[in-house]
């Protein structure tokens, strides 16, 4: 089979290669009645795009979204919404040299093993170019979640290489190219990235995402838990190697008396759980954290093989990001939004909008 569809009830099918004629997606299951226009996609796609600062790949795509279906007179109709983005700045000749080489740390080798054939131009389907459509689909999810439930999804970079933020001021995040929550560190980060770029090397990053406004009750036991689906969604982003919910790996050395979040009439006293208990949202803010590896496309040579099994020294000369984590913040946000959207619809499928049962009052919310 193949698995290019994300979500069960809000189902996003993406297609397209990095250097093919276009990338796109079909969003199936969007509720009818949502206002939607091409302009809605601009802000988030711009945040994700390369070529906006010197700290990301120089590839400069217009990323103009064409809505091909599912919207009539500016309103979603309940039929599938197809979005199309033409590729315009693909330089495939950069990849001629590596068409028969396996770049270490890349999907070149595994795609070739799996399929016996691969599109080497820009990484083909394995390129992060595909995430454009995740962000686009995420825009629809975010709009519905915000309008109907007041849910907001906010991401920021919480580590760049070995650097961590001095403080976590979410209002600072959109004012610098790193989605960094401590404005005072931005000049140092600029210098850090400039030095890294000159060295020809790359570095990893960590991104945190917070979602607020979730009602309690989203998430499905036992194989569709909210945290499990978030983990799958985030680990599925290119270059991700780890995912945490709430206190994550720090929980290992904690005591139960420390980790568990007491409850009183005012609500929860802490949020070690990260907003999920038993795989179901508790109504607290959702907290997750994602580890990005350093990219493998470097100007520094490395040993590898070609498709005939001969040793080669690979040097990557295309346009690449020295830290993929920088552009990953909107992608992480989008994946969180897609998971929440899907769970929102799944919840009302089984439990109803108005409930098959008497409505309940969460603690701390009169």
């Amino acid at each position: 089979m193949a698995s290019n569809t994300f979500g069960k009830l809000f189902a996003v099918t993406t297609f397209g290669e990095s250097h093919g004629p276009a990338i796109g997606c079909v969003v199936d299951g969007c509720p009818p009645g949502l206002a939607l226009a091409p302009e809605d996609f601009r802000h988030d796609l711009e945040r994700r795009a390369t070529g906006r600062t010197r700290h990301t790949s120089a590839r400069r795509e217009a990323d103009e979204v064409e809505i091909l279906s599912g919207v009539y007179e500016g309103i979603t109709t309940g039929t599938p919404i197809a979005l199309l983005v033409r590729n315009t700045d693909a330089r495939s000749k950069d990849y001629a040299k590596i068409a028969d080489q396996f770049r270490p740390g890349h999907a070149d080798y595994t795609y070739w093993q799996k399929y016996g054939v691969r599109d080497p131009r820009g990484g083909g389907r394995s390129s992060a170019r595909e995430t454009t459509m995740r962000v686009a689909a995420g825009v629809i999810a975010r709009k519905w979640l915000a309008g109907r439930h007041g849910v907001r999804v906010l991401g920021y970079m919480s580590q760049l290489g070995e650097v961590t933020p001095g403080r976590r001021d979410l209002s600072a995040v959109e004012d610098n190219p790193f989605f960094w929550p401590d404005a005072t560190q931005v000049p140092a980060l600029e210098a850090y990235m400039d030095a890294l770029r000159k060295s020809g090397d790359s570095v990893g990053a960590r991104v945190d995402v917070i979602a607020t406004g979730l009602p309690p009750g989203w998430g499905e036991p036992v194989y569709g838990k909210l945290d499990a689906e978030l983990a799958g969604a985030l680990m599925g982003i290119n270059a991700v190697k780890g995912v945490e919910i709430g206190d994550g790996f720090a929980s290992v050395a904690q005591r139960g008396s420390e980790h568990r979040d007491a409850i009183d009439a005012a609500g929860f006293a802490s949020n070690h759980a990260g907003g999920v208990l038993g795989g179901i949202s508790s109504g607290q803010p959702l907290r997750c954290s994602v580890a990005f590896k350093p990219t493998s496309s470097l100007r520094l040579p490395v040993d590898s093989l070609d498709t005939d099994g001969n040793p080669v020294e690979v040097v990557t000369t295309g346009r690449h990001d020295p830290c993929v984590g920088i552009r990953a913040t909107p992608i992480c946000e989008a994946m969180v939004a897609l998971v929440l959207m899907d769970q929102a619809l799944r919840h009302r499928a089984q439990c109803g909008d108005v409930g098959d049962v008497t409505p309940r009052v969460p603690p701390g919310k009169p």
Copy 2:
């Protein structure tokens, strides 16, 4: 909807509550021709069971598996395999007191919010009792994977509270109640757990799983990546708060020149990736690591609410594990096996057993 089925082509549907009459599962999609008998389940279920040592819950279940269907004369027939385990040692009266209280850190509150009704006996569906059936289904997957592909899945505890192993000797793992890979530390761990149990508190743990023998090519871009499905499967285990593949969060501070795994004629020079590139297995050993939080069911009191919103002090007196991570090793192994089994079948659906393309020779494997 609900999500009590795991896997797409090797689909495991589990059912049952901790203190209901029985737990069970239906395994749909198992290839025909596999030898299978009730005895096959004993070893792994025993490894997962409570009540075998003083370091786990005192509940002592027989966990006898009855095969209800799908096997004829000791051979799987390709029809669904139903497995049933009767609950025999449920003491529901222990839970009468907390039937109308929310235990902090538990699913009590979220199930009640989601469904408006819950089975409070032993945690009902949210109990780790359900993982018995994951282990049982995992037995079938492991048997097929081993017989057909030579795949082995091995787990061990890699951290208990703040204690880490001095060495990672996999041959020591099955000889102690902690699945600990350093025999010299076992007496100290016994003392550690005895003190913890006396204190009434609990502690977290980390479990590592390695799978060897995977061919390259398993895993599906872009939303069914092998690492993404592993992350979802592992995060979906009760009490898990974090998942890593390969170097995981350590990748954040690495340089690309350090992280990428060079290749030569003898194979890969290192395994920072953990056996997955672009979401597809590389043929290297698969490496993942899982964080378990400390359980919330403690004899130590904590503030909470009852179902009427009144403040209560909750004390849990039932039989509980002071470290759920101890019994989690076989569960983690089972989930990894279920993911691999499903991906093995998915791979041959699209790419064929003998390939729709010319077979390829991986490096280092003449």
Copy 3:
């Protein structure tokens, strides 16, 4: 893969062979809060059962349903509902002779070709015994549909061999063993069936199902249309060879001016469509009709092969139905109910209980 699950949001997974230890099902996705007890299953299972009259197979199963999970204090909790029925009257020795023969018109040959192994006792998985669990799951669906939406599903036999009812009096259906809507014909049918049974032959049948009380709006374009899912569900019943919706094959020779159903303020003027337009319910009664072939298990000999490819003459001596259509009425009703239940939940997933849009007033319903 395998396909032993029916439905997407109200997902019924069945298991079990005709002569295995038990048959059962897991119903996943049932809304919480529905009252459910073992007694609820008795009426419909009795209607489907063999051995109640001389016109069906002499096998006499108790068909006692045990609820293994998903119900607490008589109320569904939203977790999977497992139902178990033990097989008690299996006479497997009747099948020893045909264990290595292919009965023409049966699944013997195709299962053996597909899987290379088969359970020959009573037809194994291909037996109509499996439909017991469809009826059981249908009971849950019918109860919810009736309670929440006022939907009723009613079936009757509309043809037995070459005999058709003189009138369609639905109040007569439950008063005779044929689900026949014309009481005056029952004695003649008894004689007809007695003669058929003596001849050792079998005959086909047609069953009609009507569902009333459906709101407009259920059904999903374009590959989950209500009529398409009904056709798939009904054709999937053992021995079914044809399905019609509304006027069915009679539509072929109709003119458009005759077939289309005019609408006025009082509602629809006719119902040629059978309650579905564009794959979505119109609010009119749903009408479908199903063709059952005559069973192939006869005392009359027929040429066939054994598993070594040698010619054999097959004579079936087990207990069989001379007309499988007789017991099929409750099975057809159940499959219609399962489709409607699933579509009801799917509709509210996308469009909401209270609607993401302004509620609409259907014509004729002020």
Copy 4:
């Protein structure tokens, strides 16, 4: 949810409205290594298209297929294949008058009830325009099935209104605009259709499809039976009201001794079953038959309501087919091919290409 994806392992997601900017599809799960070019789609799309003869709607679409992804250097790569067809001859102003009216027999009313909003231009998503993409996806399935398994899928019209073919000569089918298997009747059919068109009325049709070359073993018990999936696929085509497999409704009046197909060393002696036993292909030719209703879009007036509930007289003046069945033959073929393709992949997922079991020799095939 929504259901715009067809198939599980060969998954076709379509999008687009009749008068939107484009229609398209994403084919996910296609095996790698298949040669594919835009020219491959021409023949079947031309067969399906309107405007080629005076007997179908006058709308004349170029139906040029653009391959947006999944093909590299003329070969499928295993990644999703997106196909796009721009709409060029949409005359939306024809529909202005009926934007607030419900055409009886159409999806107008049910879409409006379901979604609260609809795209009235040309029927929007409910238009048969969508079937263009089914035919396009079917081209890929047919090419793979033919190349790998030698499967051929052939359809023809078996009834037009009250006219039936005098003989069934499949070689005649492609030589007339009706896919009619009796060349001698073509002039009479031309006259019949001319008279019908002048009358402003429409008529139904029946289409038969035969698939040859299937191996035994395709189809999945018990809810993914080959015949059940065919029934669902064919009933899901616009305007279909009935589906038969093999002898279909004629089976009702047959005796078992007549219906069952004897087997000898030369193979099956007859094919009443239509190539499916127990939901699994037997290796015989697959036979199905489909009933199309007469279209409801007529120049003849009919009573209806507008969206405010006021009585109106509806007259349809757009370009429409007087018999939708004429163009339906390639659509039926495509749906059969999509079902077979999906089942082929599902079969090898569970049972393997080379089998997990010893290969078997079907009777009559040494």
